[in-house]
């Protein structure tokens, strides 16, 4: 019997957008699907989870122990509830990437990362080599443990469901790991991985002050802000804005790259965007090869003009 369990992605106690995309991947498996909501103070997320069309049961583990989403606490919990499931799925974000391999190892099975296509219950597609190749892979394991690239799947209907709520009694706390602190970026802007428009800046912005131009254009377009690794390394912006092979993967309707050269590692994180715009003063910059509209110009002249015209 096939049955899927999706581990919900939470953002400040709320159900993150990624969750709805992962459920779509689970739906494509064609099996009944349950959702595990684990965190602290997630009553609101549970209410929303129960309303998602197609979810049969919502397993709830609400405890301060789970506040920081540490794999050492979450993995034994997921393993404990995994009996009876043929597929375990989570978003390929920092929590899922941290957790799912540990879960798989505890179960003695393989794990498949960043799944972008479901071909059957045992056959999946996933990018390798920074997205320069797509592998079709098959797993014989009794339980398939997957992380799912959210941008590759549509979101399921958030309403219309009436799932049964199941409280998990056991609380697992690993004494080996202590949370010392978190530095969470506060931003009023849309969330990078689910935004409709993303404006990204690279080393070409020159400085933290120069990067203000990216924010100005983003605000004009109600866009999320992204960055290249070079811009993050240079301290223009925080690490959570990095787009690419080792950063976040985005696929917005519109991606505007300013002063980004277009290294393969950066392209890996944005080349599934619908429309790509590049502004760069180097006519040979590789970003132009993937841009639908490329403008060879000094961004410090072009961007203020662009802000004025839209």
């Amino acid at each position: 019997m096939m049955r899927s369990l999706v581990i919900a992605d939470l953002d400040k106690g709320q159900l993150a957008a990624a969750t709805y995309h992962v459920i779509e991947a689970a739906r494509q498996l064609g099996a009944p699907c349950d959702l595990l909501v684990v965190g602290e103070g997630c009553a609101d997320a549970v209410t929303r989870a129960c309303a998602i069309a197609g979810i049969e049961r919502v397993l709830v583990a609400d405890d301060p122990v789970y506040a920081a989403s540490l794999a050492e606490n979450l993995a034994p919990l997921v393993v404990a509830v995994s009996a009876g499931y043929s597929h375990l799925l989570a978003a390929a974000g920092s929590v899922g990437k941290d957790l799912m391999p540990r879960v798989a190892a505890r179960l003695g099975v393989n794990q498949l990362s960043e799944v972008i296509g479901v071909e059957s219950s045992s056959r999946f597609r996933r990018p390798i080599y920074a997205g320069n190749a797509i592998a079709t892979v098959e797993s014989d394991d009794p339980v398939k443990v997957l992380t799912v690239r959210q941008t590759a799947f549509a979101a399921v209907e958030p309403r219309g469901g009436d799932a049964e709520r199941v409280e998990l009694e056991q609380v697992i706390e690993a004494p080996s790991t202590r949370l010392l602190g978190e530095q969470r970026a506060e931003s009023e802007r849309p969330e990078l991985t689910s935004a409709r428009v993303v404006v990204s800046g690279g080393r070409g912005l020159g400085s933290r002050e120069g990067f203000e131009l990216v924010y100005q254009l983003a605000d004009r377009l109600e866009a999320a802000v992204g960055a290249s690794r070079a811009a993050v390394d240079a301290g223009f912006v925080a690490n959570d804005l990095q787009v690419g092979q080792t950063g976040k993967v985005v696929a917005p309707e519109l991606y505007i790259a300013l002063g980004v050269s277009g290294a393969i590692q950066h392209l890996a994180g944005m080349k599934d965007s619908k429309v790509v715009v590049a502004i760069n003063k180097d006519p040979d910059a590789p970003i132009f090869q993937v841009a639908d509209y490329g403008l060879v110009a000094d961004l410090f002249e072009a961007v203020p003009e662009l802000i004025e015209q839209i």
Binding site: S94, S113, Y129, R184, T246, E253, F288, D292, L295
Partner: protein, 253 residues
């Protein structure tokens, strides 16, 4: 305290890969190979710990065929004290191994070597798995600090700063622990000619799965490899005005 650093031989990150015309794999014939960039950062971090007197010995390990000795030599040239080669007849992937099998081999080695800290790269840039460290920690039931950009090693604990989706997270892990490196942990040193000479005299021990008493689990099977959907890019606009016009037409602004 001993630090164990697993390193992987991968295609150089500057090489643009091509898929073979029979779609069986990517073409690795005659391409430049290198130590995985994240592993290089792990070696650098381990060597700095020893230089700062916080670690006593740095041991590099790689799973693969004979050629992985090149990457072990790189680790030795960077300052690792000795190396261990776990031999498989072909590349792990061709030999049917995935991160689980690799982690099982590494777990057996950890039980033999008893390091206080295992430092891995967060991800190999060929398979983009991002799994081996977490699996190793799971198999050993060790605490794990993944995607780390800051590392402070004490006697009983290691403090790590992790790069997470919402920002940064700082954890204290009781030793022994597994840590995986992110790009901003450090900038690996430049290897000089004398370092390469010195590395030649350092020992590389040989072992194999049977010797470690491990029959590693087979990885997922790769049925086909295809190039990604091509993007129809490359169009130029002459002015900001023209750009805005196009974006309005495409109804994206």
């Amino acid at each position: 305290m001993k630090v164990l650093v697993p390193v992987k031989r991968v295609i150089d990150y500057n090489v643009r890969v091509r898929v073979k015309s029979d779609h069986s794999d990517v073409d690795l014939a005659n391409v430049k190979m290198a130590i995985n960039p994240f592993c290089e950062i792990a070696v650098e971090a381990a060597v700095r710990l020893r230089e700062d007197g916080k670690a006593s010995e740095v041991v590099a390990v790689s799973v693969g065929p004979k050629v992985v000795q090149e990457q072990l030599r790189t680790a030795l040239a960077m300052g690792a004290d000795r190396a261990i080669w776990i031999e498989t007849p072909e590349t792990p992937e061709t030999a049917g191994l995935g991160p689980l099998g690799i982690a099982q081999l590494l777990a057996a080695l950890v039980r033999e070597e008893q390091p206080g800290l295992v430092l891995l790269g967060k991800q190999s840039i060929d398979g983009d798995n991002n799994q081996t460290g977490q699996m190793l920690a799971g198999l050993l039931d060790y605490p794990q600090g993944t995607f780390v950009s800051g590392l402070e090693l004490g006697d009983e604990e290691v403090e790590v700063v992790r790069e997470i989706d919402g920002g940064l997270q700082t954890l204290a892990l009781r030793l022994p622990a597994v840590v995986t490196t992110d790009l901003r942990l450090n900038t690996p040193r430049f290897i000089r000619a004398p370092d390469i000479m010195k590395a030649r005299r350092k020992p590389i021990a040989h072992t194999a799965p049977e010797q470690l008493g491990v029959n590693p689990a087979p990885g997922p099977r790769t049925l086909a490899v295809h190039p990604p959907e091509p993007r129809a890019g490359g169009r130029r606009v002459e002015s900001v005005g023209e750009l805005v016009e196009h974006l309005r037409q495409a109804q994206v602004i």
